[in-house]
Amino acid sequence: MKLKILLPLILLSFLSCFAQAQNPTRVSIKGTLQDTLHQAIPFATVMLLNNSDSSLVNFLSSTDKGEFAFNNVKNSTYLLKVQHMSYLPVQMLLQPSSAAINNIPVVTMKPISQMLMEVVIRAAKAPLRIKGDTVEYDASTFKVPPGSTVEDLLRRLPGIDVDADGNISTQGKDVTRMYVDGKTFFGDDPKSVTKNVGAEAISKVQVYNEKSEQSKLTGVDDGSQEKTMNLELKAEFKKGSFGKVTIAGGTENRWAGRANYNRFNDKSQLSFIGYGNNINQTGVNWEDYGEFKGNNAFNNFDNGDFGFNRNGGRMFYFSSDDSPVSNYDGKGLTENYGAGTNFNFDNKKTKFNASYFYNQTQLDFQQKKYQKTSLVNESAFDQYDTLINSDFRSSHSVATRFEQEFDSSNKLIVKANFRFATNQNHEITSQQFSDTLLKPYNIRTLNNFTDLASYKITSAAIYRHLFKKKGRAFAYSVGYNSNFNDGTENYNSINKFFDATTPTEQIRQMINTNKNVNELKSSALYTEPLSKRVFLEFFYNYSQLTNKSNRQAYPFETEVRIDSLSAYYDQVTMYNRVGSVLRYSYNGLNASVGIAEQQLKLTGLYSLDKGLPWDNQKVTKTFPNFTPNVNVNYEFKNNMRLDLGYSNDISAPDFNDLQPIKNTSNPSYQIIGNPDLIPENAHNVEFGVHYWNPSSFSSIGVNLNYGITMNPIVYSQSSHFDSNKGMITTSTPENMDQGTNMGSWLWSSIPIIKTKLTIDFNGGADMSNRPTRINDTLNDIKSQNYNLGSNLNYTATSKLILSVGGSGGFSKIRYNKSEKNNQDYFNYVIRSSVKWQFIDRMFFESNFNYSVFKNESFGFNQSIPLWNASVRRIMGKKNKFETRLAVFDIFDKNVNINQYALLNIVGTTKTNTLARYFMLSVTYNMKGFENKIQKNRFM
């Protein structure tokens, strides 16, 4: 009996289970769209979204009867979303269906209110978003003048009314509540916000309905809502800053300090930097300088000297005008101080930059020099110098740049830099002259002081106009540069002879120099597109350079001028050039052919002193020339690029070379100008191929150049032994027949094991042939330089990077009239380095260089092992501190060696420099240090 009752129950429950399980796996979802007047809505977008993440499952468009049907979709929970441009979007949740066809109730859509629609249509670009009942304006698309308040901004927003008293209403209702970033701001009155907050801080304005305070308090929704406005602040408007401070002290009284601080927001950047040290950092490093200059570190290429090269293209260069970047050449010991500030403003249309920098360097060095001067007929003489030099330099520089883009077709750039610099130098030199058999002739001791001050102004304005026709452009530039130098030079020399009969020669002179160079220049460029691929350019350049220089020499402590060493010059160089370029540019081929007619006019007057009558011997020269130019650049498939160029350059002789007056700072080596010089005329051909494989990251490049210079200006050398003056060399610039030079350069980088092991190669060969007059005999001096380098870089792990490599150079100097004096010298260096993060936040860095310098004919052979090592540890909560213990030159062997060759002179110098010291430093970095080895430094 019981079973009779139970069985149906069991059956029933089983059935109901079955019924539930019977939900079809796939269903069709059908429905109809209507507006509030029960009219069908055709062409609406109906989307089926996954309920969990709003991802799109399927979509379709409603039929002209307003119907839609998703057939054969998985039976699951969906969001149904319906959109139509004239209706408010509708979204509804669909539960899994028990029937195979899920007929959903009629979907009713409300038309978008006229006010909203007006806003949508009126606002041209992206100002409005509707999120449910929230309307959001993108404030950045509504332009308000700088300094405007939020109220001014709101007045511009479509659909929002602001009355004369500042009361706000939207969609017919008053805005009663105002938030900033979702929070109440200074009480309840919206006007306290709109009248006080700056419009530029606002990124979004949101308007929505919020439950009244009453219903918020009671928790009972009484249906009354208040119009609420929320102002979202710009993320980037929030200010940022970063900076670093380092202090370091070491053995041998070594010390260093460095600090930099930057503040910025989305439009402006302000930075400060300062340093001081006696470890031969004569300025800041590139990395710090880049951050110091901020978004002005790389300038658009603002060259106003238009010509054969394409102007107006996108090029960037590191602005390095008088940059305070360290430029230590490896000689001596220095003590350095510097500080500067930089300000950038950039709102896309207007860019402004101003910076100031002061730096000073005291340099002291002692040098030993050996040099051989080869003469004709296998003769030569030797010179041993010892030199003690003390040099102080300081400079104040101010740089400004202003760029204004008036509209898309008009742009103006104005730059002005000012620099004031001083230099005091004291040099004591002892020169011993002897023949090649070491028989000494004479010893000359020089004791020279110079004291110079200079002012420099460089300025330029460039204006660019783009015409309506694409490719038609006009550019005009004007520039003014001025340089004023004022100096005093004191020369003292004592010349002693090994031959006892010759009396000691003594010279003591004081020279006042005064030089004022002014340059005014202007250029114009017009580009006309002949077709989409062919362009014709015309350019015109003008410059006038005036050089007024006065040099007055007196014997020590007298006021009687030494006429032979004194002169006042007034020189003018006028330059005019007019030219044209025909350019073809299509699909990777950019080729141009150009020609210009240029005229150089040199006028020089001179007298004994400023105010005295001009001498009859005046220079007036005009050099007209045609200069052609060819340039071809082709991009092959597969990232290969070819460059080919020919240029013809005419360079006027330097005025110093034209002055027939002696410079007596070194009586043993005197340069006398030559008023008969004519310009050099150089023809240069350049060729280059570069290949880059973006997949393997290997690259290779070759560059070749060849040049012939007609009438090259070469310093003729005349050396002889004067029984009263010792060994004297007189050097005079002269135009020779023709000189040639050739150069080649190759580099390559190949990953052997991708991202692990890379090998780099580079090599080059340069040859030059300069005919030189030596002791009135024409001599062919051929010099050849070869260099080769290679480096192997191994990234063992992300915590260990090793590198080993080397490079070497070999120079050959050949004299055809004095073959015995031919010279060969070479140098090479082997390098290795390691960067190792041996424990978390602990790093070991070391490098070892072994350098060898050799000149067998001098019997010169010097090797220098230089080993540096440091351990650093990052500390602090956010890695903000770093301590570093470093040893520089562990073997205490560092010395500076330089081998050189110039015309008939070959020499070697050895100069003292910084050797072993230990140093402990502490750095605080506001942003914290990276707790890893940086693999590369592309930024």
Partner: protein, 255 residues
């Protein structure tokens, strides 16, 4: 403006009715020109494996001057579309210099659900015939107007390139096309924003005109034939290698 609302509304209705009837009657055929703006500093800032210091530095030094603008075209009719680069210079003043044109087109046939792409990757040309697999879109709630069309927004997350993309698609242009690889929504995508401005493509000109040969692809093309998943693997490999070298992955490759 505030005082003249009735006039505006009347004008609006006239305009609206013109626009909506006009659009419905119009054949879905034409060309969209996109202004493609790449911001190098923002691209760098989105590469998470590069040290924050380097990313901040590039933003600080290049943030305001690293935009690069070009034009691209999307030709479309009711069933097909083709996306390609435009020869037109987007930045006035850049005329007179021409880079090599790499093979680049992306053609979709939405009737057959097939695509045919000709792409240059790392110096090699690839030809891809495959079926269309649209990205996984999330539909969002915002609306705005782009080039005269009311658009809805959707977003996607590209885990390979580490890109968050927001797009705006037109409600009244019912074709699942869009610029570059951004396809598969109920309407043509008129605006794309990758990683908050690192790459922005905005329709700035829409010509609803009959097409002639614009949808054709070059007849004879040399290139390696691959499937879409093989092509994606090539990109994946390159990104992995650049990541190991801690260099931006988009060096030598489109963002």
């Amino acid at each position: 403006m505030k005082r003249n609302i009735p006039i505006y509304i009347i004008a609006l209705f006239i305009f609206l009715s013109f626009q909506s009837t006009g659009l419905k009657a119009q054949k879905l055929e034409g060309t969209i020109r996109y202004l493609r703006t790449q911001n190098w500093a923002k691209m760098m800032a989105s590469v998470d494996y590069i040290s924050k210091q380097q990313r901040d530095r590039s933003m600080y030094m290049w943030g305001t001057r690293s935009e690069w603008k070009t034009y691209t075209h999307l030709h479309f009719n009711a069933t097909e579309s083709k996306y390609e680069n435009s020869e037109e210079e987007a930045e006035p003043g850049n005329e007179g210099w021409s880079d090599r044109k790499e093979i680049f087109f992306m053609k979709c046939n939405f009737k057959d659900n097939t695509l045919y792409d000709g792409l240059t990757l790392l110096g090699k040309t690839y030809l891809i015939h495959d079926s269309i697999v649209p990205p996984k879109w999330k539909i969002m709630n915002d609306m705005k107007e782009v080039a005269g069309h009311i658009c809805m927004n959707a977003s996607m997350n590209d885990t390979l390139r580490k890109q968050n993309t927001t797009v705006w698609f037109a409600l009244d242009m019912p074709l699942s096309s869009g610029p570059d690889r951004f396809i598969g929504l109920p309407g043509i995508i008129l605006e794309v924003d990758v990683n908050n401005g690192a790459l922005i493509m905005t329709a700035d000109k829409i010509d609803m005109l009959p097409l002639t040969t614009e949808l054709d692809v070059p007849a004879k093309l040399k290139g390696k034939k691959v499937t879409m998943s093989e092509y994606t693997k090539l990109i994946e490999k390159q990104i992995k290698e650049r990541k190991a070298a801690e260099e931006p992955w988009f060096w030598g490759m489109s963002y």
